[in-house]
């Protein structure tokens, strides 16, 4: 059963349609990632679920109860902001205890709860410190601790990893996932980082211009993208698109390989590639080039893992191929994926 449901949710700021009609059903216990470029409305959507923003139109249900007009405190949710928003004048203990104090629970109960939560996140040592004496990773844990301490039905996370440096982010992602699995708490995670989204999400909602473009598992949205926006937004680099008569051909850079590497003989789509530049990234090589067809020249990128050692040099021309099962076709007007080859 869906624990959060939105129906026709809209939020307009004057003439800007931040969120433009969203129907979403979030399942109990899942980690749902809302992914999209900045300004796509993902944070606004989350703030409406939290109750910090009143929708222009539409309804929100939490656990079957309509909460559209309710303030955040009556929604049984917690939220972690991108900035962590720790109360700077309070110790870590008081920060974590704040949501419980607001509920006017007994001191003894609060103490037990705070210590329980601090233990789960391994910050028992930090309870007497002030936020300004904490590292980025510690702040993030304190924020998470404060969010879980009242054991809400729903945890909302607004880009909680983007303030961490790259190395820390990988471990934090891992910890976050373990933490979420351990508590089994329904989590909505907003991010613009596709690696985070793919790594964390049970399901991913891809948004653009206030609308949902696709909902699905990481594999689904990556391999079977609904439209050209999702296909180009996901993957680094994104999908290659080549215009044909009245449709678009798409294939991922990692499926675009030199002819001699592919053993298969049948079902190959050949694309002659004039290489303009080769980037060595350690684990793989990015080959930038152009391919010709009847409509003219198109820029494409191939991503070759380091296990493929075939010599590829800039300025030369090679035969590259894509296996048929990796080919995707899109409508050239709407960008929507065509299920069958035209």
């Amino acid at each position: 059963m869906a624990i959060i449901e939105t129906k026709g949710l809209k939020k307009y700021f004057d003439s800007v349609k931040a969120v433009d009609g969203i129907d979403l059903a979030i399942n109990e216990g899942e980690m749902l990632v809302i992914l999209g470029p900045s300004g796509c409305g993902k944070t606004t959507l989350m703030r409406m679920i939290a109750g910090l923003e009143k929708p222009t139109e539409g309804e929100i249900y939490i656990d079957g109860v309509e909460v559209t007009q309710l303030p955040p405190r009556n929604r049984d949710i917690s939220m972690v902001f991108q900035s962590y928003a720790l109360y700077p004048h309070m110790t870590v203990y008081n920060n974590i205890a704040f949501p419980l104090k607001a509920k006017k629970l007994s001191k003894k109960y609060i103490k037990e709860k705070v210590e329980w939560a601090a233990k789960i996140l391994g910050i028992g040592e930090l309870l007497e410190r002030k936020p300004r004496h904490l590292s980025g990773g510690e702040r993030q844990r304190v924020a998470l601790c404060r969010a879980m301490v009242k054991e809400p039905k729903i945890l909302l996370l607004d880009e909680p990893l983007s303030n961490l440096d790259a190395k820390l982010r990988a471990t934090a992602r891992d910890e976050l996932q373990q933490f979420q699995r351990q508590l089994g708490i329904t989590t909505v995670f907003v991010t613009h980082d596709q690696i985070e989204a793919m790594g964390l999400g049970d399901r991913i909602v891809v948004m653009n211009h206030g609308k949902v473009r696709q909902i699905g598992s990481p594999e689904e949205i990556y391999h079977n993208s609904n439209d050209t926006f999702v296909a180009t937004f996901l993957g680094s680099p994104g999908i290659n698109l080549i215009e044909r008569n009245n449709y678009l051909v798409g294939f991922r850079p990692e499926n675009f390989l030199p002819r001699e590497v592919v053993k298969q003989k049948k079902g190959l789509n050949k694309f002659p590639l004039r290489v303009s530049r080769v980037e060595h990234l350690g684990a793989d090589r990015l080959v930038y080039g152009e391919t010709d067809d009847e409509k003219g020249v198109t820029k494409v990128i191939a991503k070759l893992p380091s296990s493929i050692t075939v010599l590829v040099e800039s300025g030369k021309k090679y035969d590259f191929v894509v296996q048929e099962q990796h080919m995707r076709y899109f409508d050239d007007q709407s960008g929507i994926r065509l299920k069958v080859k035209p």
């Binding site: 303030p71 955040p72 917690s78 939220m79 902001f81 900035s83 928003a85 109360y87 607001a102």
Partner: protein, 318 residues
């Protein structure tokens, strides 16, 4: 050709100025100079003259400076006028600040909310600060007039003043003619005067609080008063301190209000240090006594300035 020549001539003419504008050290000193002249001529010199006067027997009639040690201080301290002025200066300042900080917080919280006509309310609140203090005080002088005070008229109309009433039997309060009422009047005008500044300072503090923190508090289930007392006010505490310190300086050193409103009266019950120093030093020509009285302001102001600089350097707005 001609054009080129003019260009060349121009650039050589500008060379002296350009040389200076590239020399940061010389330029820095040049820009600092007006400030240094101002501070030396209008602050440092008068301050040291006041110290010199206070240890001498100088008067308006006899300008020769003869060292008399602490004689002036010993003499002025003994007078009941001085004792009362010292107590009043400290007392008025303290009471004013307590009232101002409470009212300014309330006003700032109200003004930080969204409501229609907010900018008109903000403008009205700042108005007393924009009015020349002497004009404002003269206005109050009329409002508190012993015969024509509109407050008397209201009190009579509401049945609070007059025969057989709480405040009766007379029909005039004579605000400035009775010890406690006169003191209350002075404090009221100080509050009226300082409140706008404190409100604006606190308002700036409240609006500078990170919106994320306030959103977080809302998500954490905190209601209006909990957020106000456990988050907003503690966060603007340093700013509040600045507002209070400013208020102390403005009230403690003010002579306009008392000078215009009561001239220290009735008798000397509302006398304050600056006015008493002025009466002694300038009106009666006893420059040395006046200087000695005025120097009693110094320790308080010094303490306030030190506190203010320390708060300012510590303040961090999140």
């Amino acid at each position: 050709m001609t054009l080129q020549k003019t260009g060349v001539v121009k650039s050589t003419q500008n060379k002296g100025f350009r040389g200076l504008s590239d020399n940061e050290g010389a330029l820095g000193s040049l820009f600092l100079l007006p400030a240094i002249i101002y501070i030396v001529a209008l602050v440092a010199v008068p301050f040291f003259i006041a110290i010199a006067f206070s240890f001498s027997d100088v008067t308006v009639g006899n300008t020769s400076l003869n060292y008399v040690g602490l004689e002036n201080f010993a003499r002025v301290i003994k007078t009941p006028q001085f004792k009362r002025a010292l107590i009043n200066s400290i007392g008025f300042t303290f009471v004013t600040q307590v009232i101002v900080i409470v009212l300014a917080n309330i006003l700032a919280v109200i003004l930080s909310q969204d409501f229609r006509g907010k900018w008109i309310a903000r403008m009205l609140i700042i108005l007393p600060w924009a009015t020349p203090i002497s004009l404002g005080t003269i206005g109050w002088l009329w409002l508190l007039d012993s015969k024509f005070s509109p407050f008397d008229w209201f009190l009579v109309k509401w049945g609070l003043l007059g025969p057989d009433t709480i405040l009766g039997p007379g029909t005039h309060m004579i605000f400035l003619g009775r010890e406690w009422l006169a003191m209350a009047s002075v404090v009221t005008i100080y509050v009226w005067r300082i409140l706008p500044l404190s409100t604006v300072i606190l308002l700036a503090g409240l609006t500078s609080i990170n919106q994320d923190i306030l959103d977080q508090a809302e998500v954490d289930g905190s209601k209006f008063f909990r957020t106000l007392f456990t988050i907003k006010l503690p966060l603007i505490l340093p700013i509040m301190a600045v507002a209070v310190l400013f208020g102390i300086i403005f009230t403690f050193t003010d002579m306009t209000v008392v000078y215009i409103l009561t001239r220290g009266g009735p008798i000397y019950y509302t006398q304050v240090l600056p006015v008493w120093a002025y009466f002694k030093g300038i009106d009666s020509g006893a420059l040395a006594d006046g200087a000695a009285i005025a120097l009693f302001l110094f320790p308080v102001l010094l303490a306030v300035v030190i506190l203010m600089l320390r708060t300012a350097s510590r303040t961090e707005i999140n």
